[in-house]
Symmetry: D2
Subunit: 477 residues, 4 copies
């Protein structure tokens, strides 16, 4: 799904830089490279070894930070966060990094993921006098750290995280350096890189390394804590081993195609998704087009295997801002038209395969199909480069509710009718894993695919699920 | 001292309104009336019985709040705060009201005053796992409340405040209503009022009542806690009785002349200060002028007793904004000229008495004297309607350091030379209290006059004093 | 009338500086000193001998200009303009200085006053192909200059101005220097000053000289053109002599009391207005108070002659911004209360003389009287330090329409009833001129007092009057 | 050339809507669709049959216009303009539409193109008293209209345009309706469309019609004036016929691929450019990639003919704002990296054909080549889908100076060395015209290709050329 009215939202991108005189500016550039992981708000905290300097704001990275603001973010250590709200209302207090002052000194933290037992812990902490300033699940982690009886921040963090359950990739900033953590299941990515002068860097995706010229070293391992300071990089593995549950949606949908995620280049996976799709669901057609930009790579794969030529049948307008003013008198398919326009010359009189990476509610797909039909297509064959999404995510992705997910309670053919396509095919689960593993018998053992299967690898807090589902119901109205 | 480069700063004005459908807007208007008590930042939190709605920002009340912002502040209960920083750096996190979520639910608090044992308590709280979000002393109070084992918020507040030492007038906002507190010494003011429809109001000064048409009922008493909710106003006195130590500077300098403070109308006191000054330090002169606006009332008192006519010899420009751009090539007495201009016609060829309410560093007074001299004055006699200020305040006023206070280590005659006046006289301590009490034998028993005497009625934390003095020394450079 | 809801508005303040490396910043400071002459918009154009640099904006001087903006205004010559709209809608194109490029090169102009035959000329110019960019009357002057067949800018300006009728003080900026003009009747003021280093300055009032340390030399004479460039100051008198018609309202109402206007210090005139008023309309009372700030000087004069003590019975709040948010549920006398508060202690139980400088519609006066009554006054005696205002101004003051002027068709006693005062007295015309001339037999020969008398010294364009009256009628609805 | 540091700039997009109650909002949407034609500033003027309502500002369309601003733009007729400065400094006065008031009433005009005899005309107009407010060449047209002795606006416009020489597509707004004009050579495009309810529309490209659901009717013909009002669409051809000289660069570079320009769909031309390029300059390689977004269509054409597979080897980041902050310590190829990232997986170990649409200075191409090399390419073969650009444009495109155009004085091989590619080939002139005409013997008779050939179809004002060249020389320093 590519048009702005109907999308999956990643919740966060996180970054850390240690040992560079312009650490704040490098974090800013890295957050810009990770902008696709969260466009709602952004924050950076830098430290010069003594004072912490912070700036946060609502909007895109380039809107939140000016040259003047970056000048304030002095120091050789910095962390940053891009946010798309999962939990916590949209207030300044909820924008990360979160900064606190506790017995261990000043600490800032940025979190990608979502805890499933945060409410329980929150209630327990309050009962003993804890004060909460934000409504994010992430603040719970800081309280557990502040209260840990362990010695040393790494041990305190490990102590705190042994009490939480869920998905978390974390970067911490202290006066001495950075600490990076990935949860034992390794749900969310976190990569380690090195800059030319020896500075060390952490980032959700490797495209952030590319922009500022850092080299990708390796992933922070599931369950690993890395401490980065003047002495170098130290690694700790304080958690019991757990079954890997990497988020397959990162590969299929979220990550930038020029990134490596979970050590694998994303572009190749995307292309193979299209190839598998062409093998599973071939169709007689004249042209393959993509819903840009996210569907392009899979569409190239589909074209390659099917032998049907690829062309740019939809053009995307990138000048869009945050607020777009709609005329009172409705223009047909307005929402989609602000972003996309069909190229009549490519489409007219042709049997068209349209490759997209997902269908959420179906409303946008329907508008796209109608737009392509209006441009003269003879037949329209939708091909989705992933299985149907049937279950919400509780590990950090801003999914629509079950009721909003059209695939949750509609068959492929029902959806096809709704979006008015001549045919519709999703990729199979097996096909997806063949593409992800790049071998004929890929299976699901190392990934979380709960959104496609409903099987949640990390047990959910039943109460939380109910509450969340109730809330979702409210939002639907 | 009246010009903007060299002033005492009050730290805060606080307000609360209960039981009015537009509580947020009334608090906004009241904060506007209390703008003189803090111009750096402003905040309001409102509650509709369920949700809390907050807005804070840097700047004047009319800059921080727009109509749109006020619309968000829904609810029939609201509190607000104007701030001039005393402790705590100038960040958003430090702007009050402070809002927290704890076992007792959501609470917001606004604080006028300063605690002298905040650092000690902060360290102790951190040692048991407390997390601090701001660097204000006020946050300590919230932690002590969240940790109290007492039952009920009033009891928890009392429990918390029994552990702190210093000056505090407080307003709390909860889902049910307001709570107002004044410390046992009654250092800072807090008045109780009633609006036409029965709504109840708390405010630092009664001028806030006048603007929105509320009636002044009484002061919250020293050591009193008032709880205002649907059942009415309940009063609690949970603290051991203490010696009154009202801040005399409120009368002499800070409060608006149209306010009542500590039950007394301020205008009359200011006028009597001028009368006493004329009795103590008469001088043969042709005209009495004031440094506007704050010196005017005392100057009228001086004129009345001395029989020398009063005239407006200095005109004040009120269009000034927060930032004023200075030319590179220095204009003589520039800083003062942006605010004041001498009226040559009033001054030329005359022996002039200039009444002001204080001298801080002496630099501004010197510029004013020179400006008056340049306008043709034959003689210039400075008369200050208060005693020399010799000691910093630790109870909530943003005083210059001891080293910056010219009167701390200079005699009256040395100051006279520095400011280049023909004569200079301060009011005596006894004269000040005669004016304050409006009787011939006024004494100091019920007021804190530490800034004039160096006698601190609430014992200071020795370490804190040292640290603060050290910091002050830093700022001086 | 002093409260913001009901005021006369001056239309403009103008400034020019020649021969100073920071001419733009000096003009900015001078405009700040002249802020009372126009608060709606502001503009500066500077020239470095080659390029023109301009910045204009809506708002107060300190809002329109930032340090960055001033840096752009490079050059040793600059002119500036504060505006309160008289003619011309409130668009950017109408903010002065107006800059044009014509055969004579680039010229910028700032205008204080109003032309009475602008519409006629505008129509004639259009008929020959002229293009107008603004809707201001001032643009007509520029067209006439651009079309003049005379040689040299001074001759062209004289040629142009011989064709216009009305009130105008003008400053022009060219690559070579400044040109200042005052119309033959001398309706609006324009003063000439000199800075320490030899720079020359033009300004509407001398308070602008005081702020930046310039010395007042003399007024530009009625009908005089002064040309200021590297060779010095040259004077031209190209117009036939005319009867002087200085605007008496400048003295009575508009100008700052610390200014000289038409060579006379304003403060003394204001004070004598109060003195004459006390002589003409004495009353038995306990206290004299003023409507601040503009009524204070006359109130002191009234107190002096009457022997009744002056006190500050009304306090003005100066923190007001441009937009003030009003509660839905009306607060009594809200509009006035935002600006003024009564000091009960001064007023309670007393017979009060309230001195103000005018009554426009009467609504604000009524609110003030009621506010004073509510503060406990036994009797309230309004004294107005000018005659009743009965006719609109066509020479550059933003007057209400005739229908809005309460004095236009109500007797003194009718007005008294409307404003609910116990007595009301205006100063007589003769009394006003005694005060202005400072002699017992002052007469009206050298002043325009049309607003008090309806006698217009410069013939009006009948059509224009009708149209303007029609427009006014529209605005009234 | 696709990266933001080194691009050709179109100067303008223009739009007009007649007969729709939300004309202003439709123009806003159309300008958004034409954003690629000018990103520096934007303006809309609307008319409700009586008053003109305007808003202009610096920035993207979505930045300049808010909902509130659009509400002000009332009326059923509106015109708009996107601007990238060609002539005229970057001041508010130069942002179009230009609005004037002349004998014929109020008129607004938006201009796409550039006049070659504007300076001459400007001087002549000034000599007869004309006043210029902007420094744009467009203002000359308005003066000529205002001075025309013809009767009726269409005749006056024709009269005015017979005096100018150059490239112009124009839309005019009057109280009655729209007027659209295209110069006799038809250099710039202008298309006519119709909305569902019968409203009529003019726009530079048809993609503006698509967004708001208008139907493309036909092009305004070279030398045609269309008048659109309540009576319908009237066509006038008042100019002597001239040789067509359509700007071929619109096809090759500027227009959106989903637009029709000069009646032809752009996408097909772009694709054929790539096909011709593959035929003219084949190369043994493993992969074809494009410099996104503008090079993609030609790259697909190249891939198709060559049989080498196309892949997305460069990813573009679209979140960029207007100001991007660069670190002090230079990151290699920083400028390019902010926009582009190489996909190592696609490139590594491969022989790569890179298709781009132009090379301006060569610096960006060099950075792109080095970025691809760093991603592991074995060979890099640059293919440019247009001939070398050797001459500046005087008809409305913001070209670099001759000295900045690397192809102006370097051979293909010299350029290849500079950009460090293994091979470099431009498309031939003949190849370009084969693609444009879509027939084997396409020639240049109907197009202006001066930027590729130096042959200027409209005679230039010699003085102007010299001056412009001199200015360019200045800018180079």
């Amino acid at each position: 799904m590519s048009a702005f009215l109907d999308r999956w939202h990643e919740e966060c991108g996180i970054v850390g830089v240690f040992g560079h005189p312009e650490a704040g500016t490098l974090v800013y550039l890295a957050l810009y490279a990770l902008q696709h992981r969260g466009q709602e708000a952004s924050g950076i905290v830098a430290c010069d070894g003594s004072d912490f300097h912070a700036h946060k704001g609502v909007g895109l990275v380039t809107q939140v930070f000016s040259e003047e603001r970056l000048r304030i973010l002095r120091g050789h250590i910095a962390i940053g966060h891009n946010r798309y709200a999962t939990t916590g209302a949209s207030s300044i207090a909820n924008i990360q990094p979160l900064s606190i002052c506790c017995a261990g000194g000043e600490i800032s933290m940025a979190h990608n993921g979502n805890l499933v037992n945060a409410d329980l812990l929150r209630r327990a902490l309050k009962a003993t006098g804890a004060i909460f300033q934000s409504t994010t699940d992430s603040e719970v982690i800081l309280h557990l750290i502040a209260r840990s009886r362990e010695t040393g921040l790494v041990a305190q963090i490990a102590d705190a995280l042994r009490q939480v359950r869920g998905a978390y990739s974390l970067v911490f900033l202290t006066r001495e350096g950075l600490i990076g953590v990935r949860d034992p299941h390794g749900v969310r990515p976190l990569a380690l890189g090195r800059l030319a002068g020896g500075s060390v860097m952490l980032a959700s995706e490797t495209c952030a390394f590319d922009l500022i010229g850092a080299e990708y070293l390796r992933d922070v391992a599931p369950g690993e804590i890395v401490r980065i300071n003047e002495k170098g990089i130290a690694s700790f593995t304080p958690f019991p081993e757990a079954e890997p549950a990497r988020c397959v949606f990162e590969h299929v949908y979220f990550a930038r195609p020029d990134s490596r995620v979970f050590t694998q280049p994303v572009h190749g996976i995307r292309k193979r998704l299209g190839q598998e799709l062409a093998r599973e669901s071939p169709v007689a057609a004249d042209i393959v087009i993509a819903v840009p930009d996210s569907g392009v790579t899979a569409a190239l794969g589909f074209a390659e295997v099917s032998g049907i030529p690829f062309d740019t049948g939809l053009i995307r307008n990138h000048y869009i801002g945050r607020t777009f003013i709609e005329p009172q008198q409705s223009i047909r398919h307005f929402g989609v038209k602000v972003k996309l326009n069909a190229v009549r010359e490519v489409i007219e009189g042709r049997r068209v395969v349209v490759v997209d990476d997902s269908i959420v509610r179906g409303t946008t797909s329907r508008k796209i199909v109608k737009m392509i039909r209006a441009a003269g297509a003879k037949e329209i064959h939708m091909r989705i480069s992933a299985p149907p999404t049937v279950s919400p995510c509780f590990y950090g992705i801003d999914t629509p509710t079950r009721q909003e997910l059209i695939a949750a309670d509609h068959t492929e053919d029902e959806i096809r009718k709704q979006i008015t396509a001549d045919s519709l095919k999703y990729l199979s689960m097996a096909g997806m894993f063949r593409a992800v593993y790049n071998k004929p018998d890929g299976d699901n053992r190392h990934f979380c695919a709960a959104c496609f299967s409903g099987n949640y690898p990390i047990p959910l807090d039943e109460a939380a699920v109910k509450e969340e589902t109730a809330q979702m119901a409210l939002f639907e109205v």
